[in-house]
């Protein structure tokens, strides 16, 4: 028993060390800097203060925070809604088609992320084909642009994070026993009700994972709003970049980063909590059919 534990520790050591050195320690440094004073040349001045957090009370910050949360939330919702039918189709398809579809989902990752965002800039270009078609149809003005608005940011966010939503949904749906739905239907439950009451709870772990892997990175988006967002499309990540690079105010940048870290860790903690309580549910449910 003891040696098993020791080998477990030894096995997890590399990843643990990696996390401590490249995640924990830098995060702690960021949190510490957020409570320091700044000096005008971009460094850290001696002494401690809450000045770094002074932004948080301002109205302009509230607007950016609201936009960040709104866009991340919408991205998550759209991703789940689009990913769900795809994942169901994949899980129920023949193995050959399944593998092909998986490959198709992964292939875009072979191309650099930035290049894919640039591709969107070309597709939505104000002198591009799509715009010309919409103009001919009369849906958009001559000088109008499909780029540089919140819609474009949402579109590219969804495009970017969709595979991350499909994959966990697919794995949990693949494990789901579809005979349960047949059983529910046999017992008189309608299609909508069996979907809501049997299917969704059955794949809840997959849904929670999908929400996490979309919502958390979307909160920290920086490149996408920077490239396809308009003058009013800033998200929290862009504000942090501005604080560090142009305002040369490390404590303020760190204070915003600290908030973002909190915002990211909080859902993670909630997920942990849900997982624990859900585990009980799952165990409980498994027992009941056995008893019956």
């Amino acid at each position: 028993m003891k040696s098993k534990k020791l080998s477990e520790i030894r096995l997890s050591m590399p990843s643990l060390l990696w996390l401590i050195i490249f995640f924990m320690i830098p995060t702690i440094i960021v949190v510490i800097i957020s409570f320091r004073n700044s000096n005008p040349s971009g460094g850290i001045a001696p002494g401690w203060s809450l000045h770094g957090f002074s932004d948080i009370m301002s109205l302009s910050f509230a607007a950016i925070l609201w936009r960040t949360i709104k866009l991340s939330f919408l991205t998550t919702i759209v991703c789940i809604f689009v990913a769900m039918p795809v994942a169901i189709f994949m899980a129920r398809a023949e193995e050959k088609i399944q593998n092909l579809l998986l490959l198709l989902i992964v292939i875009p990752f072979w191309t650099n992320f930035l290049i894919r965002v640039y591709a969107w800039k070309i597709i939505l270009h104000p002198e591009g084909l799509l715009k010309k078609i919409l103009y001919t149809v009369g849906l958009i003005g001559e000088h109008g642009s499909l780029l540089y608005n919140e819609g474009a940011v949402l579109l590219v966010l969804v495009y970017t994070y969709l595979p991350f939503a499909i994959l966990p949904l697919y794995t949990s749906i693949e494990k789901f026993d579809f005979r349960l739905i047949e059983a529910a239907r046999d017992l008189g439950s309608g299609p909508f009700r069996s979907f809501m009451k049997i299917f969704l709870p059955g794949i809840s772990q997959g849904i929670i994972s999908a929400v996490m892997v979309v919502f958390i990175p979307a909160l920290g988006s920086y490149v996408i709003p920077d490239m396809v967002g308009g003058p009013g499309g800033e998200m929290l990540g862009n504000k942090i970049a501005q604080r560090v690079f142009t305002d040369r105010n490390l404590p303020k940048g760190s204070a915003l980063s600290t908030l973002l870290i909190l915002a990211v860790i909080l859902p993670g903690l909630i997920r942990l909590f849900i997982k624990k309580s859900n585990l009980k549910d799952v165990l409980f449910k498994r027992k009941t059919p056995g008893v019956q």
Partner: protein
């Protein structure tokens, strides 16, 4: 196999070391922005002085500064912008210039000296003057286009214009439009500029400091606030692109030549700076980089094309309205606050 490779590498590095030293020429290490010097001139200097010049490039003042701060040695001459000269001098990185070794300093054009942060050339010599203006598509602007910052208020071009994603430049344009100084710290002037800028923002595609030049080339943007060098650079790719200085005035900035304290070949460094200040040499350099070397002896050698380019050799009445952006230190926060409010405004 692996050992063979090691031996080969050792042989190659030995050869490099041997031949590297065998030339015995004096070496001058220069750290500059890319595409910022006419390399024919570099070759000429090498031949005239029987030396070897090694060019290395940086893409931002901050990168260069970080590298030097981290202890990079061996460079002789560096080309920082004005504010960076001050910072480097304060950090004790720069050699105090012995002006007797640069006789061509007399060629400097006094008109442009106030735009340098080091007006007495204590540590630096102005190299090139660049400015911020408006890059635009002539076909969209029409013949009666009167260059003014207020073009960004024109609803006809809504969604097809950009301003720089740089608070000092963007707020500065609004301040200039109102006739105020770009370095003001008066809150009522900044408030007024904020209102103007928010109005302009509603017509912008975005605030963009880098990609706007590609946007002009692909006709994505019709009007972009931009740096002269950037816009001139992309003109070759699309003949429709023009560049104008707004009549209300704009930002000028100078890049400067400095000698680092650790320089091993100071005499050669002085000679090189003096060489670039020669009228004919400076003219050749202007023709190549499309920036203005503030050198009054050079103007007579310029081609008509450059002489007639108001964005390079500015007419006096506009030049008098131009300013250099000063580092405001603590007061930078006034601008950050306005900038946050502009960005967040609906």
């Amino acid at each position: 196999m692996y050992r063979k490779f090691t031996v080969l590498m050792a042989a190659i590095s030995a050869a490099v070391i041997l031949f590297g030293c065998s030339s015995g020429k004096k070496e001058l290490y220069i750290y500059n922005w890319s595409d910022y010097i006419n390399e024919d001139l570099v070759k000429r200097f090498e031949e005239e002085n029987n030396c070897k010049i090694i060019l290395d490039y940086f893409d931002s003042n901050e990168t260069m500064y970080a590298k030097l701060q981290a202890g990079a040695t061996g460079y002789d001459i560096v080309f920082p912008s004005g504010y960076m000269v001050n910072m480097m001098a304060q950090q004790g990185l720069l050699l105090k210039l012995d002006q007797s070794k640069i006789p061509n300093l007399k060629n400097l054009d006094e008109k442009y000296i106030p735009f340098s942060m080091d007006e007495n050339q204590e540590y630096s010599v102005p190299y090139m003057i660049s400015n911020t203006g408006i890059g635009y598509l002539a076909s969209k602007a029409g013949d009666d286009f009167d260059p003014s910052w207020n073009i960004f208020a024109d609803p006809r071009y809504k969604g097809r214009m950009t301003m720089l994603n740089d608070m000092r430049e963007a707020i500065g344009a609004a301040l200039k439009y109102l006739g105020y100084s770009m370095n003001t710290i008066k809150s009522d002037e900044l408030e007024a500029a904020k209102k103007i800028l928010i109005g302009w923002k509603r017509n912008l595609a975005k605030f963009e400091a880098d990609q706007y030049k590609n946007g002009l080339v692909s006709e994505e943007f019709y009007f972009s606030q931009g740096y002269s060098g950037d816009v001139y650079q992309v003109m070759e790719e699309n003949e429709d692109i023009n560049y104008a200085i707004p009549k209300e005035g704009t930002t000028l900035s100078s890049d400067n030549m400095v000698i680092l304290k650790g320089s091993k070949n100071t005499d050669l460094a002085y000679a090189f700076i003096n060489f670039l200040l020669d009228g004919k040499v400076a003219a050749e350099n202007i023709e190549y980089v499309y920036y203005l070397a503030p050198n009054k002896e050079a103007y007579q050698y310029l081609s008509d094309e450059i002489k007639n380019e108001p964005a390079i050799l500015m007419p006096d009445e506009i030049l008098n309205k131009c300013e250099v952006l000063k580092d405001l230190g603590e007061n930078n926060e006034l601008y950050s606050k306005i900038w946050d409010e502009v960005k967040a405004a609906k």
